[in-house]
């Protein structure tokens, strides 16, 4: 049943207490070093599979700048590791690599606050979780209540969340507090295949399964009171965290791209150590086609999370008998963690525009960056780091060092430690839902296995991961959030 994992035996040189280097001399063909941000404790864990090898492989990509970077929640993916960051410069034959974004294009997280506190919600919690589970489509093959025909779907992909504003399914404020305003410009819905449209037609506003979730959380501990005050959260306050992406539509866009790119690296003379790293020069017909489709899928994903939040607001309204505005269910922020964006960065003293691939990594712009909403301009961009359903999640903000060290990027979650099969084995004969309830977490999922595969022991401790990016100066801790209600696929 199980496979012995290959341990990484290559070099990992200590750069600092929180950074390790794979020198480009490790493999002929590496264009830059690999850099992994991790503590001594986490690097031992990271060595246990081939994720560092993948960091080295990404360094082969044409046009890669500075380093192939990985975050402390890194784990083995395909092609790219999850938790990987790479920036390519189109002026130096840089490539766009769908594997550096992932199947779930613009998978991401949003955090919504309320004016409720634990004592307000305690007696309603069972009902609330149950209603959320009934109203919000979760799990395999479930359709949503919002149906978009092909024409509407294309508009939605071209316009992003502003399209939903026109349809009465978003507020102005929701757009302002979503990364990129919930819309990447120059999306090309025409580059999205019929198959992808078909897969997406009924899935906007559905959670999906796997590690996607919707959680009711309590602000457990404030780390930085001044920043927390700007964001408007205090201990005991109820928040909702939503983790989902572009559903079947995005998976299909990635799949179509990988198929299109099967023979493309050879066409452009690009030598790759792994098929799953298939890529095309940014400035090529294939590259442009994928970029247009990827942006369309990213806009779809922001609309998906918007509709998930909208349905959550409706459930709260019916349970508490107040409007969402009265409950002050305002979006704190929405971040993408599987995406590539064309951004300005300083590379070795020179300002460049580069394609930053973030695969299981979150944008973390520092204070005063022009892309941050006014309200957060002085504190830095809010970063939401979901953990596992038994322990905690974190709210952080971007720091200046993120621009110097990681192309304005930080980690994206706890990172898996156990495979799904190993997690199920460990959970055999146990009632995970009851164990969680004893810890004060009410969890509803479509199946026992769904919970077993995602139970807290399957993940690294998110506190350890967050500690690294905090101490490395990339992002600053603001608040720790503790789950009390969870719905999953």
């Amino acid at each position: 049943m199980s496979e012995k994992k290959d341990i990484y035996n290559g070099p990992l040189e200590k750069v600092s207490d929180y950074c390790w280097r794979i020198p480009k001399s490790y493999k002929p063909g590496m264009r830059v070093d690999g850099l992994i941000f991790a503590s001594q404790k986490l690097i031992q864990e990271i060595r246990k599979d081939q994720a560092p090898e993948q960091v080295a492989n990404v360094a082969f990509l044409p046009g890669i700048q500075y380093a192939s970077i990985a975050m402390p929640d890194i784990h083995w993916g395909y092609g790219f590791s999850i938790g990987g960051v790479c920036a390519t410069d189109p002026e130096e034959d840089g490539v766009i690599c769908p594997g550096g974004i992932g199947y779930d294009i613009n998978c991401g997280v949003r955090l919504v606050k309320t004016n409720l506190f634990y004592e307000d919600i305690q007696s309603h919690l069972k009902q609330l979780v149950k209603e959320l589970f009934i109203e919000i489509p979760t799990g395999v093959g479930r359709s949503g209540k919002y149906k978009f025909d092909k024409k509407e779907l294309k508009k939605l992909m071209a316009e992003g969340v502003p399209y939903l504003l026109r349809r009465g399914l978003a507020a102005e404020r929701d757009i302002e507090y979503t990364e990129a305003g919930g819309k990447l410009d120059d999306a090309e819905p025409e580059n999205v295949s019929e198959r992808a449209l078909e897969r997406g037609a009924e899935q906007c506003g559905t959670l999906g399964s796997g590690n996607h979730f919707l959680e009711i959380q309590i602000v457990d501990k404030i780390w930085d009171p001044e920043i927390a005050a700007v964001i408007g959260i205090e201990p005991g306050q109820v928040c909702v965290m939503i983790h989902s992406g572009s559903r079947g539509l995005g998976y299909q866009v990635c799949d179509d791209a990988l198929k299109m790119l099967r023979d493309v690296p050879a066409k452009y003379g690009i030598k790759l150590p792994d098929k799953q790293l298939a890529c095309a020069p940014v400035d090529s017909p294939e590259g442009r086609k994928y970029i247009g489709a990827m942006r369309a899928a990213a806009n779809f994903a922001w609309c998906n999370r918007q509709l998930l939040m909208w349905q959550t607001r409706e459930v709260f309204e019916s349970v508490f008998g107040q409007s969402w505005q009265q409950l002050q269910m305002n979006l704190i922020y929405d971040v993408a963690h599987n995406i590539a964006k064309f951004e300005k960065h300083e590379v070795e003293g020179k300002e460049k525009k580069v394609w930053v691939h973030r695969k299981g990594a979150t944008r973390a712009f520092p204070p005063n960056h022009p892309e941050i909403p006014d309200m957060y301009r002085k504190i830095g961009q809010p970063v939401i780091i979901p953990g596992d359903m038994g322990r905690a999640s974190w709210l952080m903000v971007g720091n200046a060092a993120s621009m110097e060290k990681t192309f304005g990027t930080t980690c994206h979650g706890a990172g898996r430690m156990l495979s799904r099969t190993a997690a199920v084995k460990k959970a055999q004969g146990r009632r995970i839902d009851q164990e969680l309830e004893e810890k004060g977490v009410l969890a509803l999922a479509r199946s026992w296995k769904g919970l077993a595969e995602e139970h807290p022991m399957a993940y690294k401790n998110v506190d350890d991961v967050v500690d690294v990016v905090h101490k490395a100066g990339i992002t600053q801790k603001v608040a720790r959030l503790r789950p009390i209600g969870v719905i999953k696929g």
């Binding site: 049943m1 199980s2 799990g139 395999v140 190993a422």
Partner: protein, 136 residues
């Protein structure tokens, strides 16, 4: 014969069969066993014909599984019986199954995609073997 093997965030399928046709048929069953826990409860009420061409056996297996996943995603078809005829660069197949029925079928994983990562189809002395990793 097939088994599910572990890969950190996802699931791998390891399939073996004395024949290439059997290998592809078993691979299809393995895929649906990841989507539906009780595939023995799938009835053969509908049938579908598929014809696929690819440049090599690995891509052929990939495209075959991809077509089946699409059948599930677009029409909610679950299947457990397959007649497959594989040539070196093409296959023709009949797929037998029915529309997903939540009262009888216990859904398990949402398969996001079939991946190319460590994809292999190899012939050993007396049997064929394949490995494919699914993105969950």
């Amino acid at each position: 014969m097939y088994e599910v093997f572990e890969h950190t965030a996802d699931l791998g399928l390891r399939i073996s069969s004395p024949t290439l046709n059997g290998l592809f048929s078993e691979a299809a069953e393995a895929l649906f066993s990841v989507i539906v826990e009780n595939i023995d409860q799938i009835r053969t009420e509908k049938s579908f014909k598929l014809n696929i061409k690819a440049s090599n056996l690995e891509y052929l297996l990939f495209d075959w599984l991809n077509e089946l996943l699409y059948l599930f995603e677009s029409e909610k078809i679950v299947a457990n019986s397959f007649l497959v005829n594989v040539d070196s660069d093409s296959l023709s197949a009949e797929v037998y199954g029915e529309v997903l029925d939540r009262n009888r079928h216990k859904t398990d994983h949402e398969v996001k995609a079939i991946t190319y990562h460590q994809l292999k189809v190899v012939q050993k002395q007396t049997e064929w073997m394949a490995e494919v990793i699914l993105d969950i």
